[in-house]
């Protein structure tokens, strides 16, 4: 029986449920280990005149207090542009920006010393805290970038209906359960060993080496598991790692830095808020003939990954729809917030949510037009990419294996969409308290890093004489099940039980020059590399077996079978050895039982300057139908029912993939409903605890939740014909936001148009209370989310 498609438990499941799976702060402390903490700025946009450290140094138990002046190497870092200071120099940009590092003998001493570091700050100007303020001040982190096709001006001029609007969405806090954490331990010959909760050990190694002015071979970064990442530890794990490393470097002692929750929520960047100004034209049949969009994101104070996130948003604004004439322009705004960063979907959610809002708005505009699609779903289906024509994206990639037409048809059927829609709309006219909405959102999400060079991975497979195996790859395990799938893939190649394959920590001294575990592609990349390495060993064993059995003349290695823990001659199955015996004998015969695999995704290219190329290996596609129920008195929302259907090819582990799908959906549900970041007028994040920042609970999971894997053959070019699953399901939750828009649209188009994302109770009630107030375009241009409407005002 193949190990592919088996729902094996997570490789660490036993460790998880018994609490023995160790995270960074669970590692035993070395005897000399120091407690490290950072002192952060209480102000945004101020000159940093002086950092007074003497008092803190005088606190008993304090060993070192470090500032930017103590950095031996690069003072700045960043994945694209090295503009982010490790510790603030001359100015502080945002509230929570690290300014100094304290290393102490005890947690108590560290705590006491924090209060003693005095920062002399002089305000420069009022901080810029919103995209709108940044636009007014013309502050940007990137140049305008355009992806365009056709002639939008003439297309819009010829359209039967043209609508304009502005879509807003706020950010999202990752709330990985393990906060950012790093331990740095000085080792041999000036080497530094890091244990970091990072999605990108190689990047962390690189940043730390640069900051310490060490060559790369002097820094080792090891990661066994992360207590959640979601993109928040792709680049942002580097700063705490660098701080721990600086403490270790200056004291010669082991140093541990673990952010407290509130600290983490203040220091680290989040999902990008977006403002999307759009103008769309449809003909009388509902075909979208022209679309012009301007996307602005809030990148925060430093560049981080923002231009790449913007690229992905631009590459996903089409979502599932063919856009013949289109102009997409994107630009990252600079504000005085923590640098916004990767978060599951990486700009995709913002782009897709904007497009789905446009669709909902157009559906309302077309509602009374004879011959036009009768509801949003019909409009969406009408505009889907075609199979043979109307199948090229704005950036020129042909959409192949397009399953969305089938998925939407099936989903409409299994969710009883038409009948429920009619019933809900009728009920909405009668019920004075409850307002319901129903909507479907399709998702087409491109898989691969847009930066082509990042689509590479390596793996190391070690086979021991007892037939057991150790595998390590550059991919980090953060709960997503990567290691479990790789274990299955390797076991399948070698014909052994997955339990005999141990997944080892990712470490840069084994798996170097790796890309961060991101972009949903870690199984595609690392799985393929591991399969290649395992295949190399299997081929060596097969060659040895042919010799052993006097079959040297047979060049065909496939004559040797590997299955059920046995190595055998396929043509004479009685000629067999256990895998363990084969390994022991092969080792004696000096066969190399270790191998490295390397994989680089073929065929990818994208020219950013022209906005043309084929950046994605394939698309993961799916759709969800969501029903919402709004309390008209309070604006509070419940989601009673969700049906979703998603194509993930041939699942390597359906149990794990189902967890990714439902988990991603519920995380997206939080983004579009209750997760609302609120800042004060000075730029301090007020939602800095789980008391004020509300992620979904078990009781928020829709009572009816159907999750169906769309049955397909899967792409021939991926490992075991599987498809990426990490990010796409998050975007299926946009259906919930669309359902809110549909519900509000039943009251008035203006109510629907005014609601911004997330649809908090306040946001919904505000829209309802203004349902019958006209909403001209000039007002729409000034409109913002209710959570920001008072934050920028003077205190």
């Amino acid at each position: 029986m193949s190990h592919h498609g088996q729902s094996l438990p997570h490789e660490s499941a036993r460790g998880h449920v018994t609490g023995s799976a160790a995270f960074i702060d669970d590692l035993p402390r070395r005897q000399d280990e120091l407690f490290v903490g950072v002192v952060t700025s209480p102000q945004a946009n101020a000159r940093l005149l002086c950092v007074h450290t003497a008092e803190a140094l005088a606190v008993p138990g304090v060993v070192a207090v470090l500032t930017a002046r103590d950095i031996p190497g690069a003072t700045h870092f960043g994945p694209l542009v090295q503009d982010e200071p490790v510790l603030a120099i001359d100015t502080v940009a945002y509230v929570g920006q690290p300014v100094a590092i304290i290393a102490a003998e005890s947690a108590a001493a560290l705590q006491a010393a924090r209060a003693c570091v005095r920062l002399e700050l002089e305000p420069i100007a009022a901080p810029i805290l919103t995209i709108e303020q940044a636009l007014a001040a013309q502050r940007f982190l990137s140049a305008p970038h355009v992806i365009a096709r056709g002639n939008v001006v003439t297309a819009l001029a010829s359209a039967a209906i043209v609508r304009r609007g502005v879509f807003h969405c706020l950010g999202q806090e990752h709330v990985y359960f393990e906060t950012q954490a790093a331990v740095a331990t000085p080792g041999d010959d000036g080497q530094l060993q890091l244990h970091v909760s990072t999605q990108g050990p190689s990047e962390t190694q690189h940043v730390v080496a640069t900051v310490l002015d060490k060559p790369l071979h002097q820094v080792i970064c090891t990661t066994r598991r992360l207590g959640g990442g979601f993109g928040g530890k792709e680049t942002q794990a580097n700063l705490p790692a660098a701080c721990a490393a600086l403490a270790a470097h200056h004291t010669g002692r082991a140093a541990r830095l673990v952010y407290e929750r509130a600290e983490d929520m203040r220091i680290t960047g989040k999902r990008h808020p977006f403002r999307v100004e759009w103008e769309a034209g449809v003909d009388a049949s509902g075909t979208m003939v022209g679309l012009r969009v301007h996307l602005y994101s809030d990148g925060g104070a430093f560049t981080d990954l923002s231009p790449s996130v913007m690229d992905r948003a631009m590459l996903h604004i089409d979502n599932a729809y063919y856009l013949e004439h289109v102009h997409i322009e994107g630009r990252v705004c600079e504000t005085h917030h923590a640098p916004a960063t990767a978060f599951r979907g990486f700009g995709g959610p913002q782009g897709i949510a904007a497009m789905e809002s446009i669709m909902q708005d157009l559906a309302l505009a077309l509602r009374d037009l004879p011959g036009a699609p009768r509801h949003a779903l019909a409009l969406q289906q009408h505009n889907l990419y075609g199979h043979d024509d109307r199948n090229t994206t704005p950036y020129g990639q042909v959409v192949t294996d397009n399953h969305l037409p089938d998925i939407l048809t099936a989903l409409a059927d299994e969710s009883d969409f038409e009948a429920r829609l009619a019933a809900i709309e009728a009920e909405n006219r009668r019920d004075s308290r409850w307002l319901r909405g129903l909507a479907i959102a399709p998702v087409k999400f491109g898989i691969s890093f847009v930066a082509t060079f990042m689509n590479q991975a390596n793996a190391q497979v070690l086979v021991y004489p007892d037939g057991t195996v150790q595998v390590s790859t550059g991919g980090t395990e953060m709960g997503q099940g990567l290691n479990t799938k790789i274990r299955q893939l390797v076991a399948e190649v070698l014909g052994i039980e997955p339990v005999t394959v141990a997944m080892m920590a990712t470490s840069t001294d084994k798996n170097h020059n790796t890309s961060p575990t991101a972009a949903s592609a870690s199984t595609d990349l690392n799985g393929a590399a591991a399969v290649q390495a395992a295949t190399t060993i299997r081929d060596r064993l097969a060659r040895w077996a042919l010799q052993q059995w006097g079959l040297e003349t047979t060049a065909d290695l496939s004559r040797i079978g590997f299955a059920q823990g046995m190595v055998f001659d396929c043509e004479a199955p009685d000629r067999r050895l256990s895998f363990a015996d084969a390994c022991a004998a092969a080792r004696f015969a000096r066969v190399d039982l270790g191998a490295r695999g390397f994989y680089a995704t073929p065929g990818l290219h994208f020219d950013r300057s022209t906005g043309r190329g084929a950046p994605f290996l394939y698309y993961t596609q799916g759709a969800a139908a969501a029903e919402v129920c709004i309390d008209r008195y309070t604006g509070m929302i419940r989601v009673p029912r969700v049906d979703l259907r998603i194509d993930i090819g041939r699942s390597i582990n359906p149990g794990i993939d189902r967890g990714q799908i439902i988990g991603g959906f519920v995380q997206g549900l939080g983004w579009v409903t209750t997760e609302c970041l609120v800042y004060d007028a000075h730029g301090a994040v007020l939602t800095d605890s789980l008391c004020t920042y509300k992620v979904p609970l078990a009781s928020d999971l829709p009572a009816h939740f159907s999750c169906i894997l769309h049955d397909t053959e899967g792409p021939a070019e991926t490992v075991a014909r599987s498809k990426a699953v990490g990010e796409p399901p998050l975007m299926l939750a946009i259906s919930v936001f669309s359902a809110v828009r549909h519900a509000l649209g039943c009251v008035s188009p203006e109510a629907a148009q005014r609601v911004c994302l997330p649809a908090t109770a306040e946001e919904v009630l505000r829209a309802l209370s203004l349902a019958h107030v006209p909403f001209p375009h000039d007002d729409a241009m000034q409109w913002t989310h209710s959570a920001t409407s008072w934050q920028g005002a003077p205190a």
């Binding site: 799976a21 929750r261 953060m478 988990g663 209750t674 008391c691 004020t692 009781s699 209710s786």
Partner: protein
């Protein structure tokens, strides 16, 4: 002294004021207990705690409570048995919740997992009836799974546990049979305990006092009036105790957790036997629904529905009615209800006892009229009568386990087409939970019509001073309050 996973442990000196999570992780080096939020909002650090039943009670079944170890101070656990995730499984066998979670892919990153395993185990242990798992797990947050697998695991574990219980073998009862630790659990823990600073002169304030009786608590308060009183620690545990003041830990005083029903303090003329619910100050949220079911007749469900939305199971097992009153949160959870019921409170000191209307207790933002040396001992709650209307609304960002942005409690009756005895109280609309006296005045004696409610709602801003804060803007709060008051007539219509 505590039992930890079956073994007796001595908690040293000032470790008594450590949060249990710190003691477990840093002193005992048990790292299975994870701290993810540190504020009692996520349940990752959940431990199981059993208080040995009193000798006299004759009880043989131990009630295992899920507890947020980041909030609970070690002194509060004196004489209790703590079970952490390390003590859940045996060397050879996993607990049903653990087995089911493994089988159902209910862990992803694994950080919240120990907490879920323990909360599930507690629910399986204590509740003989089918568990509503969405509610039972509401005090535990998972960022990875989306909960479906966790709910399935819980259901599977329940099926297994029911089967095992049928053979008389609930997991915790078998794993830690009472006989193996109870006999030593009596006596010593009923004596008072005072921890002083080792090197301090005798005149210096003690670090912490755990009195044996209320009288001892009052004597201690008389001597150290600046003491910080800790009951369930669901509020004080968030920021930690103030180490400059002595801590008076009263959580364990069972005499303050008793309740009874008595005739009304001041029976209204002509009324047929109104009754007053007398709640000890340490009555837990957890116990209120059952008390109300027995006492409050047709209004019990309304009140229980509100209580079900206060915290998760861990918080409701710890938080107390008295703590809710004395911490005087502007939101107040129970306070709007108590205000509309004209509740009063009993405050005792070593030499005096006084009863004060709850309404008179509030003296500003998070401030109450508590005199030096006083301890809140009892709360008198006149129960609503059958003919009265009672409505409780809570508006929050998230439906469950969230602090209200606005809460409204309303009680009134109708007489000959007129509104009478209208009592309205709100939380989240000013520095403290408060009655809407002006609005009430407009409604009392007004005809029972939608117009009366609407007119009053329009003027309710005269009673409140809402602020914009992290939970919502002032304008939203006012809009919600007006809408809710306007719509109260529908409630009246519905029941008419």
């Amino acid at each position: 002294m505590v039992w930890l996973n079956g073994e007796a442990r001595v908690v040293a000196g000032s470790d008594a004021l450590l949060p249990a999570s710190s003691w477990l992780r840093d002193v005992m080096h048990l790292h299975g207990t994870k701290v993810a939020c540190g504020t009692g909002d996520c349940g990752a650090c959940t431990i199981l705690v059993a208080t040995p039943p009193l000798e006299a009670s004759g009880e043989t079944v131990v009630r295992w409570q899920p507890v947020n170890s980041c909030l609970r101070l070690m002194v509060q656990l004196h004489g209790c048995h703590i079970v952490t995730v390390e003590g859940l499984a045996t060397a050879s066998e996993l607990a049903p919740a653990q087995r089911a979670m493994m089988a159902r892919h209910a862990s992803q990153c694994g950080f919240c997992t120990p907490g879920f395993a323990l909360t599930m185990t507690a629910a399986l242990e204590s509740d003989p009836s089918p568990v509503n798992w969405r509610d039972a797990l509401a005090g535990n947050v998972c960022r990875c799974t989306g909960y479906a697998a966790l709910l399935e695991a819980a259901t599977q574990a329940e099926a297994e546990a029911v089967a095992e219980a049928g053979r008389g073998a609930r997991w915790m009862q078998t794993r830690y049979p009472l006989g193996s630790w109870q006999p030593q659990a009596r006596g010593p823990f009923e004596q008072s305990l005072i921890v002083t600073r080792p090197a301090a002169p005798v005149t210096d304030a003690p670090v912490v006092c755990r009195p044996a009786t209320v009288s001892e608590a009052l004597l201690f308060l008389q001597q150290w009036p600046q003491s910080q009183i800790v009951a369930g620690a669901t509020d004080v545990g968030v920021d930690g105790v103030d180490h400059t003041r002595p801590v008076l830990s009263i959580d364990h005083l069972t005499e303050l957790a008793e309740w009874s029903v008595e005739p009304a303090l001041e029976p209204a003329a002509g009324a047929e036997g109104p009754r007053t619910l007398v709640l000890g100050a340490l009555t837990r949220w957890r116990d209120l629904p059952e008390i109300l079911t027995q006492m409050a007749g047709s209004h019990a469900a309304t009140m229980s529905a509100l209580i079900a939305r206060v915290g998760g199971p861990q918080i409701r097992a710890a938080g107390t009615v008295g703590g809710n009153i004395m911490t005087a949160s502007p939101i107040g959870d129970l306070l709007p209800l108590l205000l509309t019921l004209n509740a009063s409170v009993e405050l005792r000191s070593a030499h005096a006892t006084r009863v004060v209307p709850l309404q008179a207790m509030s003296v500003g933002y998070r401030a109450v009229d508590r005199r030096s040396g006083e301890l809140l001992t009892r709360v008198f709650v006149p129960l609503p009568r059958a003919g009265e209307q009672l409505r409780l609304e809570k508006v929050s960002r998230r439906h469950d386990v969230d602090i209200a942005t606005v809460s409204l409690a309303a009680r009134w009756r109708e007489e000959h087409g007129m509104l009478r005895d209208v009592h309205l109280a709100v939380g989240g609309m000013g520095p403290a939970a408060a009655r809407l006296t002006h609005t009430e005045g407009l409604l009392n004696g007004a005809p029972c019509t939608a117009a009366s409610w609407a007119a009053a709602a329009e003027r309710c801003h005269l009673d409140v001073t809402p602020r914009s804060d992290v939970r919502g803007s002032a304008s939203y709060r006012l809009l919600v309050l007006q809408t809710l008051i306007t719509q109260l007539y529908r409630a009246a219509e519905a029941s008419a």
